[in-house]
């Protein structure tokens, strides 16, 4: 099967899948005993009629099946609805999507740039001191709660004054020239990228190391070495290409994470990303917003998997797409 046909097939398969995901998400959200208008209800200054009007406006007084129908009908026409607060969900998502994309692509880039060489290095020098150091760093990265790391780095920023404490732009951002704006954002991004890189590092570094070790034990590597090929050629031309396959699958997942955001990190660092938006929406059962976020996540995951599969095919001709 050629790649375009394969892609078309996968896209068609995704449609019923997304439909099922949307129904499941909707049912689970509806079943949660959460009152979306709790903040109005708990405020003595809000009258009963004001709450009723909000229910009416948001369609909360309609039966769940009707609500789902309205949501689906709107979705088909490209309308994601409004959030509980009244803002257009599409605009809300767009406001945050760029910020999240910026943060996650930078962190993923940094993670891979560090993790892949570190993994290779650790595999080649297996059991040596450098491997152990990487092992310890990975263990810390895996076990450290992200919000704690974020908070610690904020305290570090406070103590040294080297970095701004949270946020994405300074308040005089709009008075700066283009280069100044670029520097300002870069300055603000250091801590969030550091947090997410450190946390993501461990998994990929360990994966790379494990894969490479396995391949290095394979018979064709022994053959290559026996042929007298230089170690660099053995390593980078023969072993690495075979060790990279599982990482391509991982890359598919990472791609899905591009837009899902990191809610805890974003909250602690006051970063204006999608994760924070989604977390707040889930806690207040903001149906349209949560549904849009979930669907976005599902689409990204399906897309990521598709990309990973195609990359696999490109990287390894033995893999068949059928």
């Amino acid at each position: 099967m050629s790649i375009p046909v394969y892609m078309l097939k996968r896209v068609l398969q995704a449609i019923p899948l997304l439909f099922i995901i949307s129904i499941m998400s909707f049912v689970m959200l509806k079943m949660a005993p959460i009152d979306p208008l709790a903040h109005l209800r708990a405020n003595p200054a809000i009258s009963m009629s004001a709450i009723k009007e909000e229910e009416e406006r948001l369609g909360l007084n309609k039966p769940p099946v009707t609500q789902y129908g309205i949501w689906l009908a709107n979705l088909v026409t490209g309308n994601l609805g409004v959030s509980v607060q009244g803002a257009d969900v599409f605009i809300l998502l767009m406001q945050r999507a760029g910020n999240t994309m910026l943060l996650s692509s930078l962190s993923i880039l940094m993670t891979w740039l560090i993790a892949i060489p570190a993994g290779i290095y650790a595999a080649v020098y297996r059991g040596k001191i450098i491997d152990k150091v990487f092992g310890i760093i990975s263990a810390i990265g895996m076990s450290m709660p992200t919000f704690l790391l974020a908070l610690l780095l904020l305290m570090f920023a406070l103590a040294t004054g080297w970095f701004p404490i949270g946020g994405l732009t300074s308040q005089d951002y709009y008075d700066l020239d283009a280069f100044g704006q670029f520097l300002d954002i870069a300055h603000h991004l250091v801590i969030p990228v550091m947090v997410l890189t450190f946390v993501g590092l461990a998994g990929i570094q360990r994966q790379m190391r494990g894969n490479l070790l396995e391949v290095l034990r394979a018979e064709y590597v022994r053959t290559a070495r026996a042929k007298g090929l230089p170690e660099n050629v053995v390593l980078y031309r023969h072993a690495l290409r075979n060790a990279i396959n599982p990482l391509l699958t991982l890359f598919g997942f990472e791609f899905a994470a591009l837009l899902s955001g990191a809610a805890l990190t974003e909250t602690v660092l006051a970063y204006p990303g999608l994760g924070r938006l989604t977390l707040e929406a889930v806690l207040t059962k903001d149906m349209n917003l949560v549904m849009a976020s979930l669907m976005l996540g599902a689409v990204m995951l399906i897309l990521g998997n598709l990309i990973a599969d195609i990359l696999l095919k490109v990287a390894d001709p033995r893999i068949s797409l059928d």
Partner: protein, 648 residues
């Protein structure tokens, strides 16, 4: 994560337990000392020193550039330097809308106060109503008609005149017809009828109610809308109104009357406001206010981050509710080094209380009682509730959980309120008295140390609060611990806020809850939603609407009916002393019956950089964030010359 932080905080609370100072000693409390003035021990919290009263506002004739005269207001503060930016923050998700007439959350309403003037307001020092856009107002002898004379020559930020027509339009159309947040209309309804509003002449407007209605002025403390902007908008219908001037609005479309105007909203990061050059206030040198060029509010979703930003000088001020009790000691030590001062504004108007589900009805859907019948009997027994109240060591909660930054609370009106009943005396923890009350009510503490009711049921109930609120979490842990001494088994489990409200107001599936409510320092009738037996927030025995949407309370207890009557009387009585007597009686009933077991009221503490001048916090000059304690925001100025390349 919130939960994780909460757990950490609880641990610190427990580790940080220090021996209690003062409290009880002899059963008869020290009646000479009202709770408000109790000194705060154990940390460097300043005692309540508020700025001296400068007396009422004076009018000022302001000459405009075009030769017209504006009848404005004269600043009461010292003359300051114009220019500069103040950097504040708001804790939470930021404003949801910049349209104060649809706003239903405190942050959005807070921005409304910064951008729009009101007809009348409450004097920050005296707590009395005075005219803002109204030059003067009179009340007719029969207390039915309120006549307001509007200041001449006041201008909107686009230069158009602000007139009686704007006032009429705001109340008759936007509020009266229930556009946006219809609560603004509902607080003005007198027996279901909206006041009649007439224009008497070019500068005078009269509000007439069907019967005397004391909370009317309070309901008129609302921003006035520009008619020339809203009239075309309202014609488009209700649905559009909600989205008008929302987060995505173009700030240049906004027309304001307040000291500041929206310049830019950066989603989830900050709101930038700029000076309104047409504002109707001048200082004693005739300089136009506000002094500040810009008012920037950063949106910070985490309180720890907010604190770090203040310590890192990214913020000029931490306003009330942003300074937590646990932060006070840490902040106090840094005042000199970081050039800021802390201010203690006294008790907040909010209260934190314990409620037990007193519902005696059956859930029509499941045909089961909302509360198990034998538990209903406990919770409906006044002696049981009183025993619980007397078993709580409020001072220990203040010391250990609030780190001294709170006041023990025993009454429905917080000590901050104008109508607090001074005769209701605090009582110390008295476990023996609690045990006696329980014995009288037929409860038996058996040899196993556990409490049983007269029918042999083990006294065991669940307790909940909203997760992530470290203060309430600590209070629940303390209460659980105290009630254990009486032999009660309390199962504490925090749940998320929106879930808790669902239980309290819809499913009624709860037994004990620790909650907080905001109050009003000025108008006790604002508690009607909570206290009337068919009230929407009558939490201790919430009655649900029937199929027709009406809330009926045929099973109201005698004292609930008494409270209903007192609230109705309080609404129609205008004379202060008589009103006070009525609301005193109401507080006495609550004090005796304990449907709300009051626990504490936090102290309002702020931390303000010393470069901020004219900062004059007062007891009554407190608004929603981001206005907060900056009731005189137009007079605030920066001591450093403006335009300094200050630390970011």
């Amino acid at each position: 994560m919130k939960r994780a932080i909460a757990t950490l905080a609880v641990l610190t609370v427990m580790v940080g337990c220090r021996p209690r100072p003062q409290t009880e000693q002899n059963g008869a409390t020290d009646h000479t000392k009202p709770t408000t003035q109790q000194p705060v021990e154990g940390n460097a919290l300043p005692s309540t020193v508020l700025a001296p009263d400068p007396g009422p506002f004076q009018g000022a004739e302001i000459k405009n550039a075009d030769g017209t005269i504006t009848e404005g207001l004269l600043s009461r503060g010292e003359v300051g330097k114009p220019g500069g930016t103040i950097k504040l923050s708001t804790f939470g998700g930021g404003p949801k809308t910049f349209n104060p007439w649809t706003a239903s959350d405190v942050e959005s309403s807070g921005f409304g106060y910064l951008m729009f003037e009101k007809l009348v307001d409450i004097d920050a020092w005296s707590g009395k109503y005075y005219g803002r856009l109204a030059k003067s107002f009179t009340v007719s002898p029969d207390n039915l008609a309120y006549t307001f004379t509007i200041r001449k020559g006041v201008k909107w930020s686009d230069g158009k005149p602000l007139t009686v027509d704007d006032v009429m339009y705001t109340f008759n159309e936007i509020i009266g017809k229930g556009y946006g947040n219809s609560s603004l209309r509902d607080v003005l309804l007198v027996r279901g009828k909206f006041p009649k509003i007439e224009k008497l002449d070019a500068d005078t407007v009269r509000f007439t109610t069907a019967e005397p209605f004391a909370p009317l002025l309070n309901g008129l403390v609302v921003p006035i809308a520009p008619k020339h902007i809203f009239e075309p908008q309202i014609k488009k219908g209700r649905k559009d109104f909600h989205g008008f001037w929302d987060q995505n609005t173009n700030p240049s479309n906004m027309v304001v009357s307040g000291p500041f105007k929206l310049k830019r909203y950066v989603a989830a990061q900050r709101v930038e406001l700029e000076r309104n050059p047409n504002y109707f206030m001048v200082d004693k040198d005739g300089k136009r206010l506000p002094y500040l060029d810009r008012f920037v509010v950063q949106i910070v979703p985490e309180q720890n981050t907010q604190l770090l930003k203040f310590l890192g000088k990214e913020l000029d001020m931490l306003d009330i509710r942003s300074v937590r009790g646990s932060d006070v000691a840490q902040l106090a030590t840094k005042q000199q080094a970081l050039n800021f001062s802390m201010h203690n504004l006294g008790p907040d108007d909010g209260s934190v209380f314990l409620i037990l589900n007193m519902a005696r009805r059956t859930n029509p859907k499941t045909k089961k009682p909302y509360v198990q019948t034998f538990k209903q009997e406990w919770f409906n027994n006044q002696k049981f509730r009183a025993a619980v109240s007397h078993a709580i060591d409020r001072q220990r909660i203040i010391d250990n959980v609030l780190k001294g930054v709170g006041t023990p609370l025993y009454t429905a009106e917080s000590p901050a309120g104008l109508f607090a009943n001074p005769d209701l005396k605090p009582y110390p923890q008295d476990l023996e008295y609690s045990a006696t009350l329980l014995k009288e009510a037929g409860f038996v503490k058996k040899d196993d140390g556990k409490l049983y009711d007269s029918k042999g049921h083990l006294v065991e109930f669940s307790l909940s609060t909203n997760a992530g609120n470290t203060t309430r979490d600590g209070i629940c842990v303390t209460i659980t611990d105290e009630l254990k001494k009486l032999g009660m088994k309390v199962n504490y489990q925090p749940v998320d806020f929106n879930m808790l409200i669902d239980k309290l107001e819809t499913s009624l599936d709860w037994e004990g809850v620790v909650m907080g409510l905001s109050g009003s320092r000025i108008e006790p009738y604002n508690g009607a939603n909570v206290w009337k037996s068919n009230g929407r927030l009558h939490m201790f025995d919430q009655r649900l609407p029937n199929d027709q949407g009406e809330v009926l309370a045929p099973d109201a207890r005698i004292w609930e009916k008494q409270i209903d009557e007192l609230f109705d009387k309080g609404a129609t009585t205008l004379e202060f002393d008589k009103r006070h007597a009525i609301f005193n009686e109401f507080q006495q009933i609550v004090f005796d019956q304990q449907p709300f077991i009051y626990i504490e009221s936090p102290l309002d503490v702020t931390a303000v950089r010393n470069t901020i001048a004219n900062y004059k916090p007062t007891k009554f000059g407190i608004f929603y964030t981001p206005m907060g304690s900056l009731h005189n925001v137009e007079e605030i100025y920066l001591k450093q010359p403006a335009g300094q390349p200050g630390a970011e």
